[in-house]
Amino acid sequence: MRQKRILIFLAMSCMMLFDRAYAQILFFDGLGRAVVTNDKLNGELIKDDTVSANKTTSGYTLLDFGINVKPSENFKVRAEFRARNNFGQFFGAGTSVNIRQFKIDGLIKDRVYYSLGDIDVEMTPYTVFNNDELYHKFESEVFAIRRRIAEYENFNNGNMWRLQGLKSNTILNINSALRLNMHGFFTRTRLSNNAGIPDRFLTGGSINFVRGVNPFFQAGINYVGFFDNAPASDQVQYINHVLTGNYSIGIFREKFSVELKGESGFSSYDYNNRKKDTAVSYNDYFIDTRLIGSLKSIGLKISAGYINVGPQFSSPSAQTQRIYPFTAPDVFPLVMNSTVTRSQTLFDRFAMERMYNQSISPVLFQVLPQYSNVLPYGLATPNRKGITAGIYQAGSKKVYELEAEAFFLSDIVGEGTKQLRNYMLIRGGLALNIHTLANIKRNIILSGGIKNENTKRDGFADVNFSSMLIDAGLSIETIKDLDILAGIKLLNAKGNEYVMVRDEYNYAVSFIDYNADINQKVISGGLRYRFTEKSFATVNYNKVFMDDNLSPGNNFDMNQLFLNYTVRF
């Protein structure tokens, strides 16, 4: 009898272990979300409007269900299916089921990793980089919830671009001190219409030499090519190359470290429009170098550097903006009797899912100075030179985190005039874990950030434009897992600027005389309940104010009630 019991136990153990082994072949992941929003538009803007919508309710339920099949140790397939149902539509109406991602991953000889299909690619801030122009590091969690939704919907995974193609990575060990990290990718960003518009590809790679730990030395080469595969009969032929070298030399000791790092390179642009019988070519270069020192005992890091990005430095995969400036907002897109697209507000730019741009553009988007005028295209913004400095500190035991960064830049060449602009950007913030400081069980987190920009130019076409964005947030855990969230964003932009309008070759064709005196405010408060570490429900109320002191008739405010449940698995 005793042996019989042991047998049964062993049999069950076998089954459990076998099940565990088999389960490695098939596993699932994904995300589910339900959203309902109620929106109301008020203010002078709609005072005499009898046509445009000013009250709406919308929402959806969606499930992204990822099926991963790993039939062998070296091969994995992932397909992510999205099922979505629009709010208010039942029994099959307003629903869709489609494939959100399809990817094959593999390992060759346990050394070379490859990924084929819908892939995420990121390299350096000057080569392939999905720059996030919204400064939100110290924003309230109540805003972060919305931003993360928008980023997820638009595949903004960190600073990666979602592309379609192939990528591969490997690490080769040269000798006892030296290894080689190699990365390459090949993607198609535009499909030929087989009638004069060719396929467009984005390809690139990097090779990085890494030596030792202390002293540490790394040097690498990065290349990105953005080009058309155009036969002679096609209307356009576009080719853009970017070749950079990056380096890092450092001494890392137990108590401190010093590192010199940077990246420099050049770009080559070639655009041949056969239809217009025009060919444009130009080259330029950039330099970015920084010295970084850190004192580990107090968690302090300081940096100082110099950047110089040529006026014709062209790197579309690093310079394309994340938000298209002229996309109509998701909510209340039309105003003035449905004749005019409502201008984007700060709230729209971080909360609205459909305003994000998902494709790489060879032409620089028009700048919206009130949101970003100093580095609107990220570090790769052309026609900038100057110094940069930064400080970062994280308190011991994670009590606080503070950061400050400054850029003092100027134009390299004048835009429409010989005079040069001077730019100043200071941004930073503080996040304070009050609960850690006061030794309280429940989380209490206070955060605040600021971004201040100033642009000046003397002379005939003088410029004097400044903007300030202030973020403040508070999160208080009342009872276990129930948080009160509150946050505020204030944006003030005032002055004048000449906004460049570019043609298809990125040449300036005109300037818009932009004058602004606007105040925007987003106030949000709500509750979040964390059911598990990966699922939560939130309800919050947002109040958005847009005041245009130059055209008070355009003033409006918006109220939004937002309900959301999200689960990740």
């Binding site: 076998f18 589910g32 709406t56 629903t95 690490i171 006892s176 730990v213 449940y565």
Partner: protein
């Protein structure tokens, strides 16, 4: 035994090794460098290992979901209809083969009905968190290569549940939809409980044992329906708490129902939401509750005129040893551009008396529900033309949830009505008898259109021109989901009365053995009348505006454990008097006769699979409204598999 023990141990160790090998596969590359004598520096090893870990972050993510529950149905349905005579606005060709319940001649995509396959997946990523999705597919078999009628969609199931157990109670959040079914109370959020023709094969029928289905039907008042459908279909967020201190519980819902916004208004994002709450307290086996229902809407999303319906009610459930009492008491109010009503009272009192007191079980009901007590999602049939489903801005003439002065089934509620019903059931020898009667009167005469339900082959009729009001040769037929109604106008010029509604229901079931197999006979009679005043019993002469009589005789022969043979004969008469609209042909009132015969077979060829065939011959004529006629046949085949 020792040998077996050793073999088992060997097998156990083999699997253990296999699992370890699988888990170790992703560390092979890193480990190889650690074993390589060219890498003596610890730091370099760490970097190498970290570099590999970063590289393989996507390769094998942590904390993945490995187990999901998969179930679903495959439901192939085919309908062939051949009509020799038909209504001029028949939605399809008179000879029509379709593979969906409700086809349209205009578009193969514009239809509803059960999907060809529903794959339901349920995952529990972590304790207390559940997601459920049902991928539906359908195809209309157009016969073309690249058939674009093939599509995948979500018919109903797409929701998330999160549960939290605390010392104060259990809290559950249901988010999303699909369609989530929510039942609060009969006057607020519920569903209408119609009688189902037992001959009909319902698409949501979850029986996979036909014998059991009909034997249950013999024992119970009707075919047991899916319990989901006791509630209203909604989307949004509902949070409920149970087991709270003091026996309290609550529910809060915010979202929409399938009647909140309709048509193109959905694309305009017109604000229209439901907010429903309930607080209840259990006192041993009894329960008392307080309900609040509010439909918050605007007539459009520009001018923002308020369109609102509210109901507040309290309900009480008493379970005594010989009595069960349910009562709901409250009131309703509407606010819209046409009306800012005062609070109309509503009461619904029901009592079941055990046969130890009355010799036979008795069910009594009394109700009074004002005209402005309106919930499009309740068990109450609606008569208020100022609050059509989809909002005030929609026309009541196209609202197929509006039952103007309806002659409803016994026991069903209607607003603008005061009345009651009485039901009894008892066994007399081999006969099981269920009898019911109802009498009611409208509270206000606001409209002189009477709505009559067609019970004879209602599913077949509802497919003539699906989900359309004002259809038929005289534009007075209203087709719903599996149901068909007709609106008949009273032509009195002097209206100084309040209409009265009466019904009589009799069902007799008889189970007998025939050739050693169960044979069930079921006969259902319904008689109803609408008169110009209150009457405790129906009128049988020509004084009532409308009289309707329905007779349905069905037979179910449980031939084998897997095969059931079915037969059905039904007839219906609907007669109007001279105070109703007269025929343009001969100036006489409605005198309609419908006949239907049906045969069928249920074959359970698998434990969870069955084939169901129905064939009907149908016919309708009207002696006076000459164009109101149709004649034909319909065959329905359903192959259903549960997995």
């Amino acid at each position: 035994m020792r040998v077996i023990f050793k073999i088992s141990l060997f097998i156990l160790l083999s699997f253990f090794a296999f699992s370890l090998k699988a888990q170790q596969a992703d560390t092979t590359a890193a480990d190889s460098t650690q074993n390589d004598s060219f890498f003596p520096a610890d730091g370099l090893k760490k970097i190498n290992k970290q570099a590999w870990e970063d590289l393989k972050k996507e390769w094998l993510p942590q904390d993945v979901l490995e187990k999901i529950k998969v179930s679903g149905t495959v439901q192939f349905m085919a309908f062939y209809r051949s009509m020799n005579q038909y209504y001029p606005d028949l939605a399809t060709s008179p000879r029509n083969l379709s593979f969906i319940a409700y086809p349209s001649a205009t578009s193969t995509g514009n239809s509803t009905g059960p999907p060809l396959m529903e794959l339901e997946i349920e995952g529990r990523p972590m304790p207390g968190s559940v997601f459920k999705v049902g991928y539906s597919t359908r195809q209309f078999y157009t016969g073309q290569l690249g058939d674009t009628s093939r599509n995948a969609f979500i018919r109903e199931l797409l929701k998330f549940e999160a549960v939290k157990y605390t010392d104060f109670g259990t809290f559950k959040l249901v988010a999303g939809g699909g369609a989530n079914w929510l039942n609060i109370s009969p006057m607020t959020l519920s569903n209408k409980n119609f009688r189902v023709d037992p001959f009909d094969k319902l698409p949501w029928d979850w029986y996979n044992n036909s014998n059991k289905k009909y034997l249950n039907y013999h024992k119970n008042p009707g075919i047991r329906t899916d319990e989901r459908f006791l509630g209203a279909p909604v989307q949004g967020f509902s949070l409920d708490g149970t087991g709270l201190p003091g026996g309290f519980g609550f529910l809060v819902f915010y979202g929409r129902s399938n009647r909140s916004v309709l048509g193109t208004d959905i694309n305009l994002n017109i604000p229209a939401n439901l907010f429903v709450t309930r607080v209840d307290k259990s006192i041993r086996q009894h329960k008392v509750g307080l309900n609040y229902y509010s439909h918050l809407s605007n007539t459009d999303n520009v001018h923002g005129r308020e369109d609102r319906r509210m109901i507040v009610s309290t309900d009480l459930r008493l379970r005594l040893s010989r009595f069960r009492i349910f009562t709901e008491l409250g009131g309703g109010k509407i606010i819209n551009p046409s009306k800012n009503s005062s609070w109309d009272p509503a009461v619904d009192f029901r009592m079941e008396v055990d046969k130890s007191i009355t010799k036979i079980p008795v069910y009594l009901q009394y109700y009074q529900i004002g005209l402005n007590v309106v919930s499009q999602e309740s068990a109450v049939m609606q008569s208020n033309t100022l609050t059509p489903s989809g909002g005030y801005q929609r026309s009541w003439t196209t609202d197929n949830n509006l039952d103007l002065n309806v002659l409803q089934e016994t026991g069903m509620l209607a607003n603008n009505r005061r009345g009651g019903s009485l039901k009894m059931e008892e066994k007399f020898g081999p006969f099981k008898v269920e009898i019911g009667t109802s009498a009611s009167q409208e509270l206000q005469n606001v409209n002189n259109i009477i709505t009559v339900q067609h019970r004879a082959f209602s599913f077949t009729r509802s497919r003539f021109r699906p989900f359309t009001n004002n259809s038929g040769p005289y534009q007075r037929v209203s087709n719903r989901n599996r149901r068909s109604y007709e609106r008949i106008a009273v032509t009195d010029t002097v209206v100084n009365y309040k209409k009265g509604f009466n019904t009589l229901d009799l069902t007799v079931k008889y189970l007998v053995k025939f050739l050693n197999h169960d044979l069930i006979f079921a006969n259902n009679n319904f008689y109803g009348s609408v008169s110009d005043g209150f009457s405790p019993i129906p009128g049988f002469d020509d004084k009532p505006f409308i009289r309707t009589f329905y007779e349905e005789f069905s037979m179910f022969y449980l031939l084998t454990k897997k095969v059931v043979l079915l037969g059905s004969v039904s007839t219906e008469r609907v007669m109007g008097n001279t105070r109703t609209v007269l025929s343009p042909e001969n100036n006489k009132p409605m005198d309609q006769t419908s006949m239907g015969y049906g045969v069928g077979i249920d074959y359970d060829f698998g434990d969870r699979a069955g084939l169901y065939i129905r064939h009907r011959w149908i016919r309708q004529t009207d002696k006076n409204f000459m164009l109101d006629k149709f004649r034909g046949q319909e065959t329905q085949i359903e192959l259903k598999v549960f997995f």
